[in-house]
Symmetry: none
Subunit: 130 residues, 4 copies
DNA sequence: GTGGTCTAGACCACG
DNA sequence: GTGGTCTAGACCACC
């Protein structure tokens, strides 16, 4: 739950996590974000780090902050489809790039992901969430 | 060609690039790596950074440094399949994780990569690698 | 009408606004200040903030609070000329300081304000106060 | 030299100070800014505070930061006239607004600044910088 | 040495 | 309680 990729600024990972929640529909326009302190506790991270993340999100227009009240997902709902497309595109791009660099063919790039999904599905069925 | 992701240590990106070349068969056991200076020039990066990358690769047993002659891909050829599997696994894992977090279903995770590949293929046909 | 400069305590801006009204003669000794709630509503601000402003004004001897009846401009009329001089002096000082730091000469500091006044006058004639 | 206006974030005052230096021609495109640590020392302020200021300046396109090298005034010289106009306009606006609110007429707004300049000039002649 | 990130902990303005 | 700023001091990547 709380393992951050070393080598990547934590505040960026927090931003990303929140964006994912928005895209996945778990956070909707107008929703209140966890308070800086709560979020910091949840992530076992210093409040300043969360603050930085919220600050940047606001600058990107993803959230809005109201003094003494908290941070909220921006009401501009139309921003969300863009966000989704943009983030998905990035994830896919990195995947294809990574696999190509390793010498995989286009066909393999597809079959490998299928295989991996198959694996994890069977693994789940036989028990381990882990 | 020389755009490094800020927010991720450059030396790690260099290491990764070299590993990819090995896995893809563009660098074979015994092959000489570019000299620190050449590599630095090629990447428009400070020599110290390349130095660091080579150092870490050596520590991982991927390369060997021979005083006065340069760095070479380790002769332990059997290490390569492992490396390939390991890197591919990592790339795939990140992809699935990323897409799942964005709310994509398993089926979509496959079809989206197919679509993206289709796109880039048609783009290439009508345009250029570049 | 209700745009407060973030980065500057709102209660200070409220205090200043009231002082300006006094100096400009729109509020006279003995006049009743708007109730905390009214003022808060007018400024779209939390009552606590207005409360704080009134508190500080009282501490400065500008207003007096009579339990159950409200806040009133202090009767010490002689305080007003001082207040006026002091506030004007501050405003002028900041202006000269600001322009000097930007490299304007003394002559320009005068002519620029003249030009700006000229502009806003013509704008008003052709348009509206608003 | 080092008196910051309480009630205004220090990092904003630092940003402003640098912008003023640019506008006044004391800092030119390509010039290196003092290092974070030097600047912090000079202002008797924590390095993080200076860092924040530089960060924001970069975001505004005023400066550019090169890893491990320092921060530099952006090369886009054409940005400077805009900056100058914008900052001057702001200073003038505040002055006129402030004086108007105090009940001064347009004529007085001009004459008062003239009087103040006259004062400081004679003060200088007779000795006290102070 | 230079910037970038993070922590720990403090104080303030605001609701 | 909530966000915003600041300090002190640490570690890291990079030049």
């Amino acid at each position: 739950m709380n393992e951050f990729d070393t080598n990547i600024p934590i505040y960026l990972q927090i931003m990303n996590s929140i964006k994912q929640h928005i895209v996945a529909g778990q956070l909707k326009p107008g929703d209140k974000l966890a308070s800086v302190r709560e979020q910091a506790e949840a992530f076992s991270v210093n409040p300043n780090t969360v603050q930085r993340a919220y600050q940047e999100l606001e600058r990107e227009g993803v959230s809005e902050t109201r003094r003494g009240t908290g941070s909220f997902i921006a009401e501009k709902a139309n921003l969300i489809p863009d966000l989704a497309a943009q983030m998905a595109h990035e994830v896919i791009r990195k995947y294809i790039e990574g696999m190509s660099a390793l010498g995989f063919t286009d066909a393999q790039i597809v079959t490998e992901v299928e295989r991996a999904l198959e694996h994890s599905r069977t693994a789940q069925n036989s028990g381990g969430t882990h």
